[in-house]
């Protein structure tokens, strides 16, 4: 968590015009942000475009603000959420993810048998289909809490809601996805 420890310092460097400092934040957050978007849209290309846009918008926002009150992560996720909302609004129809071809499993360990990979892929597809059947607000919660492993306070900062509300949301989102997956 080195980047997180140095975040204030990095943000100061960005304000002073050090672009490489923004690159450090990109290195740390881009994989998470990409994954978050990828789980909400149905193509790799769209996820890449939205992730690129999110980072550029976040940098522009940082330049415009005199003082940054929130943590970078919360700011980035807020911008990403708005971009996804705009994306679906523009498309007017909710995308169907069933036809999606997931090719991005670079974390699968070397030496894993092809059978195991096929099973994993099937399970991932199953989760993706289940995610589609719950409301977008719950999808966000599931990704942040179980996949990105954000704390309740971090999620509350992104959503501007108190921690009690977030606990309730996690409980409901978990219940919703379990219900869909266990059918």
């Amino acid at each position: 968590m080195l980047v997180l420890d140095r975040e204030k310092d990095i943000l100061k460097r960005i304000k002073k015009g050090d672009n490489e400092a923004f690159g450090e934040l990109y290195d740390f957050y881009a994989p998470k942000i990409y994954r978050f978007i990828r789980l909400r849209v149905n193509s790799q290309e769209t996820a890449q475009d939205l992730a690129s846009e999110a980072f550029l918008k976040t940098w522009q926002y940082l330049q415009e603000q005199r003082k940054i009150r929130e943590r970078f992560q919360a700011l980035l996720y807020k911008i990403v959420r708005n971009l996804i909302i705009d994306f679906y609004r523009a498309k007017s129809v909710r995308e169907i993810l069933i036809e999606d071809n997931f090719e991005e499993f670079s974390d699968l360990e070397d030496g894993e048998t092809s059978d195991k990979i096929v099973i994993l892929k099937d399970e991932i597809e199953e989760v993706k289909r289940a995610m589609l059947q719950i409301i977008p607000a719950y999808q966000d919660i599931v990704i942040w809490y179980y996949i990105d492993e954000l704390s309740i306070s971090e999620i509350s900062e992104i959503l501007d809601k108190n921690e009690g509300t977030i606990r309730v949301l996690i409980h409901r989102a978990t219940k919703a996805i379990r219900r869909v997956m266990e059918v």
């Binding site: 672009n19 940098w59 670079s106 974390d107 996949i147």
Partner: protein
Amino acid sequence: MKDAVNKIRQLKTIQPNPYWFKNQRNILLQQISQISGKKSRFSWNNLPGFIFSPSVLKPVMVSAMVLFLVFGSGFVTVLAAKNSLPGDLLYPVKIAVEDIKIRISSSEAKPQLQADSICNRAQELSQIVNSTGDPIQTKENVVQTVDKLQVQVNNTRASLSSIKQTEPQKAVETMNAISDKITESEKALTEAQAKLAEGLKGQEPTKAGDEVTAKIEAAVKDTAVLASELKEAKSGIEVQMEVKNTQPELEIFNEASISFEDINK
């Protein structure tokens, strides 16, 4: 049966494409410096630093070198180097001239020159595998050429992605323009790969042989991916053109069906 939460946690394995991840970082920092560069105000105090900064000095020096090579005493050398092959004395001159041309070109022209470079490497590769020279030297030349080709394939993709971000329409036009060249190169590469495999057939497997086979295989794959991306973009344009062309006919048809409905009323 695994618990739902455990299954959800498996989604952590989803990672961005490493090439996109790295390339996007460069594009992002480039965009940021462009935007912040536009915002910064001019100051006379910054002038010497600006003139001698690498971003200004480098293109100036490169242009001067090209002018020297093209109009100076190097002109004859450049011409002579044009048909040289890897391993030839003048081959580095040919590569340097290509490289300089790409470096000083505009962002729109860059992918076209890079595609030319891919074409040249593919042709050179065909000539190398069809020649009857020293087998060790031939393998070295193949590896060298394939490496250069792959660098250009990656650079072309990066240049296209860079234009795509700023000028999507121009990116599509450029993709359309270079599509055939990349398809031709892919074909030449596949032929060279087959020829090479044929040559290695009777021989004992060696480390050098395996390296050559793996390298050319990777290059064929990368070029094929680029070619199919470009083909897709090209067919997209054709569909758009067709839609445009059929639009007036559709309008006539729509008008006709409205009047037909009016009659029925």
